[in-house]
Symmetry: C2
């Protein structure tokens, strides 16, 4: 049985540490989104997730989705839960009030996203896709599209999907074959096959708005010839009601390892009516508006599942009696000690905990910077914040989702054989977590985005804006006796990252494969340094406190610095070894 | 679709490198088991696995086992496959010819075990358990038991199980409650409940011989009061035919993450008739005869699944076209290059390959030493070999099975979204692989066995016998110009392991929790050094060769030394940091 309570105390601590009040509640349009309101919103959201979504998670996995007569049915209870979730305003939490949204900061949605994924990842996927669709239409759509679709998406009445992948093309979108031909009346006829479409069909919303990558007749080859089309499942009648079936069908459902309550559809478009979103051949830009949003949400999936695994493992480790503590019986009146006394069990729990808390803090930091990037009065400050978000998006997506799978696996290990059987729910967490390393750009693609794009932007501007405040911060904390050791470890890891950056940039200039061969290790090194930074910030934020929460925070920080951060030494050595060993083998010799 | 061909070339290379002919085929009783015979046996075994077992693997996962009216049915085709597998003599491959076995060396069975697990892990579990049961009865059983049961187990007509776990007791066998009461006629009545019993019931063999841990009426508490009982599913009638149902039933089947074609049963014993195997209260010793065998077989499960994942990923990476090589198009006449050109894909493949080949070579080395330990004429040589096997058993079980899961996950990542759907079989490999880290002693328990038992034996005798030849070998290869770099890396890693050993021994003497907190990292460090040793041996074995196989071996060795071995630096730092960070948090603060 997965046990879970939303980590609201830790979220509040992070918001304090990151000065949410001073940095977000002061932004134009967010004046009313002060801590008091946000705390109340998160409490309410946590209650909904714990009480309504968590109980549906395991039954949803057992039942899965079904396709009959072209209609997808989600598991029992999902429809009612989605109806109430939408009615309570959760789908449109960050949407502009002008379009019927709640207008709350993105950072709040980040926090809620973790809780949502902890309780029911499959459910979370449906409204999650609507966010990205909303953003793409808001940013790139015509006024007519915005007026018609945004309020319906914000309210949750309608849902959105992303239709990118085709059988012959996943990562390489330049290979897309789906066509969109002008119908002479300002709209298009879209024809083609898409696969792996989350929520491609479902019985939750009255309409489904597909955002489809396709080629116009005059499209140049490759990614420069891709356009984004909006293709509703139902077209609207005169009265605006979605009653006219468009020529798009769900051809089949994928049987997959996990997220079984999230419908993964193969979609066929046969001259389906659609409208262009953004410029002709400008689909990649518009798609990235959805994609960047989606990547940060997927990062939260990693933490969400890791937190559910952690809390469940802690509960089990306190209850399960096996063996005696190596330092003498801790529960002498019982047949054995609870397994939480064993160092190896603690090692699993502490690893999960240290990364959960670190990732959460970093995620909320990124969420706050995203709000600043969107709304700050000063364009320079907006640009700075935007750089931080752009840099951290691939880092968070890849590292957090790697951690999600790892943590789910560690949680299972604490349960032993009981973790491997379905009954306890731990194996579902692992099966569900695994997809997040793959979709919305595999983690290998995230690493290439970091090394190939983000490092190069503005001649390394994103990196300078990362390293400068980090180095300044490290210098400041080094002045305090009780932070000196930590500052030393932080400085050492930062030095490794800086040196690796320089080497990759230099070698990559001469030979892009050098950068490619270092990319995944470099991303992981980057994440570990970013987490060390935020962990040190958290320790600073507990200064002067001696309550159990603050003590646990400092202990967990110490675990991070002594037991997790050392991985940077191995990553550094691997990066430095260059591409030779990676590329040496002939293709035929594998 | 999982693609797989048994790696017979690599197995032959390992047998050459390890001097199988000189070291095993010269042992008393193995004079006829020369390389020619062994190669033919492995080819025949590989053919059976590839042609008969691999095609049953995915259907078996989809269908699973069923329990109806107390009878377990295995998936379609398993019964016929088991019949033919037994008839061909594979179950009794290493069993003494005196009991109807083939009398082949254990090393051969190690090689076959990998192939078996690559093609169908669920199937492999059934005969695998019979090996352990055979060994326990052969070693500890009375003449009457040996005469009655060994030939039937060797032929596969009957199968064996291990009944250890109970609902309240997994790792901590001291908590066992199952009772065995003398029936006054030399036998016992066994009563109790066991869970997680692999093959507890099935429709493959005519009888099932349960080896059950239980307490006699006068048993002292804890593990010192545990006895091993042999409890057949069917008792034999006068004519020796197993027709009289014993009081043991399969009460339920577990629904689990993977190995769905392997029946995992909850067993109820209600006064079932059984016979003591070994001394009263001597069950732990007898159990370990089965368990050590089982641990080495589980280690092979890790490699087996890793090899299936590797080969499938290579096939896919050669066929799937996405993107262009960073060094310019490699297939300019096609829409895109095969993804094997991308450094990150190669990084996944090389990691799998380097560890598969390293683990395979180490496993066969251990297999050969097991044969020497069993049969060498010189007791000193037997003892030396036995020490090596004892030391490497927990190392191989834990490291290989961690690798199995990791490799299955890497294989899936190469497939991207196609890896996550059931169709391609990659997600089954991951689900199947995951159990091996848990059963037959979790990997955390393996680490405690290494640190708590094996390190201490004979005041560190096992370690001295490991380090002495390793250091001598390193010194030898360092004399050759082309091996000097590798020797340096090997010496450095060995130095880390030696230093970690000394620190753990010293700290652990004063505080056992220090050893416990270091155990898992230490085991992993140990494995990486052992693999570095065997990799260097493999490079030596390719000296003077410039064929594609030898070149690939050397390239892969370089990958191991430059990209995998560096993890030892991080492990060393973690071990040195001590227990403080692991144990600091109050139980209540988690």
């Amino acid at each position: 049985m997965v046990t879970y309570r939303a980590p609201l105390d830790d979220i509040r601590f992070c918001f304090d540490m990151l000065d949410y009040e001073g940095r977000v509640a002061s932004l134009p349009g967010h004046e009313e989104a002060g801590r008091e309101l946000v705390d109340a919103v998160l409490e309410e959201g946590a209650r909904f997730c714990e009480e309504r979504l968590l109980p549906l998670n395991r039954p949803g996995d057992e039942e899965g989705c079904t396709l009959e007569n072209g209609i997808v049915r989600t598991p029992a209870g999902f429809k009612e839960a989605y109806r109430d979730y939408s009615a309570a305003g959760w789908v449109g939490l960050t949407a502009d009030p002008e379009h019927g949204g709640q207008g709350l900061p993105k950072a709040v949605n980040t926090a809620l996203g973790e809780i949502l994924c902890s309780t029911n990842l499959s459910f979370a996927i449906y409204p999650g896709l609507s966010h990205g669709g909303f953003d793409a239409i808001e940013r790139w759509g015509s006024d007519a599209l915005r007026t018609r679709y945004l309020p319906k998406l914000a309210s949750g009445e309608w849902a959105a999907t992303m239709n990118l992948t085709e059988p012959q093309c996943g990562t390489d979108l330049g290979l897309i074959r789906t066509r969109a031909e002008p119908d002479g009346e300002g709209a298009f006829r879209v024809t083609g096959s898409k696969i792996f479409i989350s929520g491609g069909d479902q019985d939750l919303s009255a309409n489904i708005i597909h955002l489809v990558l396709a080629r116009l007749p005059d499209a140049p080859p490759g990614t420069k010839g891709i356009s984004l089309l909006l293709v509703p499942k139902f077209l609207c009648a005169e009265d605006g009601s979605p009653t006219i079936a468009n020529n798009v069908v769900c051809a089949s459902l994928e049987a997959k390892m996990g997220i079984k309550a999230a419908a993964t559809c193969a979609m066929h478009f046969e001259g389906a009516k659609g409208w262009l979103v953004g410029e002709p051949h400008g689909g990649m830009k518009a798609m990235f508006t959805m994609m960047n949003e989606a990547r940060l949400m997927v990062a939260m999936q990693g933490i969400g599942l890791a937190e559910a695994a952690y809390q469940s493992a802690v509960t089990y480790a306190r209850e399960r009696l096996q063996g005696r503590s190596l330092s003498g019986p801790k529960a002498p009146d019982r047949a054995a000690d609870p397994i939480i006394v064993h160092p190896d069990v603690r090692h699993q729990l502490m690893t999960m905990r240290a990364l959960n808390e670190g990732c959460r803090a970093l995620a909320l930091w990124v969420g706050i910077e995203a709000d600043i990037a969107a709304r700050h009065a000063d364009p320079g400050e907006r640009a700075r914040a935007d750089d931080f978000v752009a840099l951290m998006t691939p880092v968070c997506k890849a590292f957090f989702t790697d951690h999600g799978t790892d943590a789910a696996s560690r949680g299972m290990q604490v349960f032993g054989g009981h973790g491997y059987i379905r009954e306890w729910g731990m194996e579902q967490l692992l099966r569900d977590a695994r997809i997040a390393q793959i979709y919305e750009g595999t983690n290998g693609i995230q690493a290439l985005d970091l090394v190939g794009r983000k490092l190069a932007l503005g001649n390394g501007r994103l990196l300078r804006r990362f390293f400068h405040p980090l180095t300044a911060f490290t210098g400041q904390i080094a002045e305090h006796d009780d932070m000196r050791d930590m500052a030393g470890l932080l400085a050492k890891a930062t030095g490794r990252l800086q040196q690796a950056t320089a080497v990759i940039a230099r070698r990559g200039l001469a030979d892009p494969e050098e950068a490619g061969a270092a990319a995944s290790d470099y991303l992981r090194l980057f994440a570990l340094v970013a987490l060390a930074w935020v962990w040190a910030r958290m320790v600073v934020a507990t200064a002067g406190r001696d309550d159990p929460f603050a003590r646990a925070k400092r202990h967990t920080a110490t675990y991070y610095f002594t037991r997790i951060l050392p991985e940077t030494s191995a990553l550094f050595a691997r990066i430095m070894s260059g591409k030779a060993a990676v590329m040496a083998l002939d293709d035929a010799a594998f």
